[in-house]
């Protein structure tokens, strides 16, 4: 039990716990803020696994940009927190039992697989090496993904444009 494994198990507990709290919140703002905690934990896990650049990107993109975007939308929409009633017991009990069986089978598979007993060694990929690797081996994918981001930007702009002919009567209460 080295210091690294203690850190790993603490981070795993933190990530799973805050995600589980997040997906059960009624209030959407609370859910988003608990998920920010979860993504911070993932960033530290990336750092532990020797990916400092990806850890920084996780904080900037996931915890910073994406979650703040969610927060803006939730705040702008002024949603009334509708009481979600759960499905009736007879409906979700079979689903829960099947899901638990699948969890058991999955954990059994992982335990039975000999490759999963390999102990991970600590290593670190410096950002400069990582950047060189990305732009030497995957430069075409970088270009394609930048095009994808451009298309997503244009798509979001087109969707967000307020059209003149749209029936504005129903939408007026939310006022986006």
């Amino acid at each position: 039990m080295t210091i690294y494994s203690i850190i790993f198990y603490l981070l795993a507990l933190l990530i799973l716990g805050s995600t589980a709290v997040a997906i059960t919140r009624r209030n959407l703002i609370h859910a988003v803020i608990y998920l920010i905690f979860s993504f911070f934990g993932s960033a530290m896990l990336f750092y532990l696994f020797g990916a400092p650049f990806l850890a920084i990107l996780e904080v900037i993109i996931y915890a910073g940009a994406i979650m703040v975007l969610f927060l803006f939308i939730v705040i702008m929409m002024k949603l009334k927190t509708a009481e979600e009633q759960l499905f009736p017991l007879s409906q979700w009990l079979p689903a829960a039992i099947i899901g638990l069986v699948y969890i058991g089978i999955g954990v059994g598979l992982v335990i039975a697989e000999p490759g999963s007993k390999v102990i991970l060694k600590t290593a670190k990929a410096d950002p400069d090496i990582f950047g060189l690797y990305i732009f030497q081996k995957h430069w075409l994918s970088i270009e394609i993904v930048s095009l994808l981001l451009l298309v997503a930007l244009i798509g979001a702009l087109v969707l967000g444009r307020r059209s003149k002919k749209a029936p504005a009567a129903k939408a007026s209460e939310g006022e986006l």
């Binding site: 509708a82 991970l120 060694k121 290593a123």
Partner: protein
């Protein structure tokens, strides 16, 4: 020496499952999108772990693309949700069950 690789697999699997539960059970379009983000994050954790296992940089570079995909997906998804909210005034998926 960190941990056996199997523990990383189990962590990523449980996190993916939590995201799936969020997508299936919750009745809000915004939380469905959040569940997709959780699932993408679980995949990213597993990829970084396997990148450490085989001491290759491939896994880490795929995670970089996952970040870009997540950004694109969330921007278009939230724009769609805002558009749907303007049309109907609700973000309940039960209100969007007609193909018209």
């Amino acid at each position: 020496m960190i941990v056996p690789f199997g523990h990383v697999l189990i962590l990523a699997g449980l996190l993916f499952l939590l995201g799936m539960v969020c997508v299936v059970v919750r009745r809000s379009l915004i939380l469905i999108l959040l569940g997709v983000e959780i699932m993408l994050n679980a995949a990213a954790i597993l990829l970084v772990g396997s990148s450490l296992l085989w001491q290759q940089l491939e896994g880490q570079s795929i995670v970089l693309f996952i970040f870009a995909i997540a950004g694109a997906e969330v921007s278009v998804g939230l724009a769609l949700i805002v558009w749907a909210y303007r049309q109907t005034g609700s973000v309940d998926p039960r209100d969007f069950n007609l193909l018209k």
